[in-house]
Symmetry: D3
Subunit: 341 residues, 6 copies
């Protein structure tokens, strides 16, 4: 089963450990980006994952590609074009001090890409699933056009489309509001992944829960899920992640799913010593796609996704470096953390 | 508004991460000291902070000065004199294992300094505030003389004086008890900063709370605060930090303030994954001075100080590397630690 | 008082910090092994500890010996023989992600050793105590023979014998079940150290407590302890460690002891930010031997052992780098983690 | 004596040690850029150096500014504007393997800056010297305009202007050839700094020496120098650096100067274990400005510059972290490298 | 053009920088082995390289495989079998202090492998070239059998066979002398790669040059080459590397080749600051295979191989991380090491 | 054969790699000191070496002692007294940039020690050799008294005394000139170790060679040696190290010896990539003592010493971490640096 994801691959420059920027003159340097993260998750679970993007042809981008290939992701669809490799700087928070991201993504190759950059007919050959996020259309008008062209092409070729709404308020600077673009794109999406803020900011659909307070009322999320499916009849499923953020180090983590019939809320995991939150949502997306393709019911699919993304909080870097067996072990109830000898 | 602080600037040699000394053959090497820490906090908040000390004229001390200047502190008042640069070795604890400090401060330039080392008339020109701690008078008789001369000169020039009592039992080795010296110095102080042990050991004023037990009875602190102001009528305000130490990694942190009229107890922060406790009290002092100079009421000033020092527990190194905006964000209630993108 | 321990000394290769294997191209490289860990604990407490093993004569093993000698352990009984130095690879877990150990111990010098490799008459001269674990007999038939020969020799020479049952299911690959071997060895043991799984898998004695659930019923452990002493009349004492594993980072830790008369359960420590669990059981063993030799009652001995091993969870590496004074401070109630200046 | 420099300040991301990119997942992260490097040199020699640039207002640029301030450079003229902070990636070569630079400077704040971004009247108040390089006009048309406006303003205010021609073939991508722009700018320059390739590519003036061969014929450089002064009568002095590159690790280093009267060739230094070549030319520029301002003859000025830049090859990072005394010691003949205790 | 290599892939544990073992408690941890090194070189040059070996199925071996795949090597022929992953410990020398290797390769999966472990018919489908070394037959009788079976199968399928004789005196411990085995294997080899010691110890063919003295007499090597081709008429070409070792840091490096008609000696490179010598011979082998497959004459092929392996001395780790363009640039004469911007 | 050395043991804080102080916020932290370095050399060669000093009783000094014990040095003679542990800060130079040492040794325990601190009768029991340096008497009057008392006691007990004159101009600050003290101490010395500057500054005996020029005239050293033995008839042997310092990275290294009869000049080693020069002289001293005790002629003894100290230049840290076999291999002519597999 071949799954295609398309989006930006960035250089991630993180200050060492829990230091603020430049307490030491060095960066931990890895790579990541929402859609690549999903592809890596799927490859880790043994799926045939292909990641498509545009990158400049330089030594830094080559290193990023080499790592993806090593992790088992098909990189044959990556185009080398004009533009930069996007960067994000990261400072990991702890306790009451939040993590901080500084974006340097302007003029990236993917932001400069257009629908013509890629040959979707070729990309989607033999593909069963296509995954994108709301980040790419936030980058530029041409990237928004590209996103829309991609989902349309996928639908035409009978490929299931999932989208993580992923609202980022500090992107969306080219003159359009998120909802203007996203409400159109989502018409070609089968499976929506979101959190509450995403629904509100990307689709203009609200619920009453207060995100900042930490305590969540799952009933409201059921209403939200139903509203989304009512508004977009093409959407067959929506999964909503439920993060209760007590501090930068301590979150509760769960999710719910609705398929038009059953509203199911997952087990909740208490994560008290978060190592790296970034990529947590993407690991949920990767887990959910795996789950929906490998289980015959949405409950197990959701539990796989939640367990997978729970583990991600204990993995440094954007990529969720866990196997399907490790996810299933936690999903099966073993969160005791006993040494595996 | 110019604020002057005077005290020792030390080399801080910390074993890497959470290692005990010399598990690895290296030290994290930074700089700090109570009064310099306060100056850095103030500079970070955009205040005009000047740090005065005596240091040897060597490459290590020059590096310390360079960093302070980079952080925006005025170092023009630093004197280069005989003596060493003081050092403290630090091993960070966690859980039930406490952090451990080994002092190597004997014969430092500041310990050898005398009232004549500095020209206070020049130092206090245009100054509005002067801050010292109980550490300097603990170093040597001449440093105690220097401290007394400094606060007297400040008062003569109409400068507000704050003092963090900061009792350190392993200093005070030159033949005087802390209370002998401090009771005299405090007569020239407007704002006292202390914890319970400080009041007892430095001023001989007790309350009944058991510091070791972790649970604090704030009522007793009101009595303590009132006793201090009654004993020292020159003191217009006292702020007392309330640390409930559940483990080396887990503290509750709050404070109270008394101005002769209102006794106010701050919000309490639960800090479960302490990164670096050292300098926590100093960051409170820096925050309090900023607060008293920038808010029109002691409640906000105290809340700023407590939020600032709460954040310090998540910053490595002596200096509290946070901005006033970051403090205000926490003070305003956002301790959820959500990623700032 | 001379205490002898005998077992394998391994190279421990750990991925940096909390990384998964090869996220960075480096290993933290230290040494350890159950019986060496016990010897180091005892040397740290000021006891005369001798560690006996077989190692190849190469630069890596020499480094391991040099470190032990530096830590005050008598290494004069180490033999240089054919075979490799065993290795274990370690990945530290956190939260719901467990630590992972990959063994590379096959064909180690100690696995190839036989009863003839060592001269027990010489080794036990002046010895008061001999400590082994259930790991050595799991390595090979010859190592099992060696273990049995060692305990017999010790008993003949009037040396007290302690054994940590230490069941490891991924060793025991040479054709015998653990219980076949251990039930014979334990007949020459005075003090048994175990956890529930050890008793079940090594001695075939069960209790009903569910190890995975985290919550423990100490009553069941009393029954277990009594059964062991009833089954092996030569055993005068059994100590059982009680680990409640809530996550890889958060364990509750206590123990109980039974001497045929009194069943005593220790204070329980909540450890919320575990730094390194590996060697935790060994640090208990080292603490217990110290306690039984230095206190006149088993309660204090057990409390010393539990406090010592509580601290181990905050020390990186196999060896428990704490002094007897540090253990006694915690044992005496000071777990507040206040900075020791 | 106040010296102003203007140009780009970049983040420098270097692979660790002598590794190729991403052999390890980290970068050594420092800052630099030709004109900032000159300012730092001058501040290190005790001069009043001011660095002017445009930078975005983010945490990374702030760290760069903080470091400059710490090094004693006046940063009050830095403007915070739209655009990115430029980056260059660096891989250090050795032996036959050359160092490799990957630029990511497009759309930087300084490339987007225009003559109106800065108030030159204010910038040059009290200034005696102004230094620029041929890098800024290579970035964009607006940066070229800015450069021309700057040198004109300086000349109008009676400020001496020096320019390091600094030809970089991989910049100059906005449609103009270097010589088109540089031939105009150099009409407002008093002191030209160059190597042979610079003269050829920036000014269209050639000599016959073969740069690649390593062996240099200084006679040809005399002709070159005379041609430049003949072509540009406003230029009163030209200094040419003479690098004989035997390998990435082994260079011979000298320079010559011509003031219209005397052609002087400096002492030659053999540097066999180059630590970091990048910034070598800038350290020559900084040394030359210091020399011309502090010696009464061009010979000493040149020898200071050559000794300063010789030392730079043994300093990591863009900035030449040496004092004037250290330069004078080498200039005075002590290159023996004996330990200074 | 598909090239297959077969041999051992090891974990390489190197002490940091130029430290002796365990001056710091860490290892630089990478992977390598003669035949894998050749495969990586070929993949770097854009060839279709396949590496075949046997490895255990554990997390360490998986990381090794992941890296190879990332580097573009086809790993589909790797078998997961019983046995360990071999290790070699490395300490890098400098000046008069030689590098030191400690092997821990016993009982590795490849040492335990037999001719039946692999299906050569499948492995050699579409293959044009097969490369092995004299290391594998040194490991064990079964590995020697495997080597012989492999070259026979290759010859039967019309695949060109190259072999690097690679004599290692501390392997060859299973009871056979190198020459007993190698003289048989070499009967199925087309291209022999060797140094003088290899010929002597592996094939029993001597020349008179003194390897230790550093100065080489190439005439003797012509005789040696001719003798080998006379002795083994199946061998069509022999290439001999000529290392003049002046110190651990300073070698001269060249090679010669003989094809039965022309004896050609390459350019000589002086390498004065060797970064990593290990894998130098393998990088020659990889370069030679590329050269013979891509140039129409043995002179260019040899010059490519020598330039490629010259560069390897400036690359850390076993793998020669250079492109064909980089090799050609040096081969074309540019060894000046000027910064590539 | 028991050899005793007495002197200061310091913490050595070195900036990482070749960085200047505080380019990174860390120090490489090891231990060393002239006399301890000699003891470690001797222990490495298998001799029974005892190191005597005074140290404070804190965690840093304990780590230093632990390392010495691990290296096989007898530390039972170390006294714990008042005072600090001395420190030296080190910055490693390269090329024309010299290494730089900043001392922080004032008020160290050994500087405060007196003849009464140690019981020489006990220290010298069974001792055959006693080694000191000219550093200890430079520290303070009491340390000078101690030194004199020590050599007198040694002579009384029939112990051979060696002294490395080791002149350090930045010590000797307590009011006496080096020659005043040293001329007295040397009257109790059997074997003098020196370089030219030492003889001149410590004993007031000059020769005409110019140390700075690099080229040495050994004839002058013969005269110098003869003058020393003529002046001090008690001295039976003098060894003079001959360092030709071409740069911080490139030295030629040899030595000469004179025993009243034969003047012998050793082989000369060219060291082009010095890793760490500090401790080079001490490694010569350690090698010479070993040589004189283990060879029957001064030529071999000297060659051993020179080879040993040649190797030290390729070892980081104060201690010369080489075995006698490694020294003998170089002494026997193998300086080719070929990999030892």
């Amino acid at each position: 089963m071949k799954i295609v994801t398309l989006g930006e691959l960035m250089l991630r420059l993180k200050s060492p450990g829990l230091e603020r920027f430049f307490q030491s003159p060095s960066f931990e340097a890895t790579f990541g980006g929402g859609e690549a993260n999903v592809a890596v998750s799927l490859a880790n679970y043994g799926m045939d994952a292909k990641f498509v993007t545009a990158l400049p042809d330089n030594a830094i981008a080559q290193a990023a590609e080499r790592e993806l290939r090593g992790l088992g992701v098909d990189i044959s669809g990556i185009k080398h074009t004009e533009g930069r490799m996007g960067i994000y700087y990261l400072e990991s928070g702890t306790n009451q001090r939040p993590s901080k991201v500084v974006y340097d993504r302007s003029y990236s190759s993917i932001a400069l890409a257009t629908p013509e950059t890629f040959d979707f007919k070729e990309i989607f050959i033999d593909a069963q699933w296509f995954h994108i996020t709301g980040i790419t259309p936030a980058l530029s008008q041409s990237a928004a056009d590209l996103t829309l062209a991609a989902v349309k092409a996928a639908k035409e070729m009978g490929v299931t489309v999932s989208m993580d709404l992923n609202f980022r308020k500090n992107l969306w600077k080219y003159g359009k509001k998120a909802s203007e673009v996203m409400c159109e794109v989502v018409k070609f999406v089968d499976v929506v992944i979101a959190n509450e803020e995403d629904c509100q900011k990307s689709l203009g659909i609200e619920c009453g829960s207060e995100v900042e307070s930490g305590e969540l009322d799952t009933a409201k999320y059921e209403t939200l899920a139903k509203t989304v499916l009512a508004t977009y009849p093409n959407v067959s499923k929506i999964a909503i992640t439920l993060r209760e953020s007590k501090s930068a180090t301590h979150n509760d983590w769960s999710a719910c799913i609705y398929d038009g019939e059953e509203f199911y809320v997952s087990k909740k995991y208490e994560i008290k010593n978060i190592l790296d939150r970034v990529g947590g949502g993407d690991s949920f997306g990767g887990g959910l796609i795996y789950g929906l393709l490998n289980y015959d019911n949405q409950r197990d699919a959701l539990e796989f996704a939640v367990a997978a993304s729970c583990l991600k909080h204990s993995i440094s870097g954007d990529y969720n470096r866990v196997t399907a067996d490790e996810v299933k072990s936690l999903m099966g109830g073993d969160g005791s953390g006993r040494v595996q000898r």
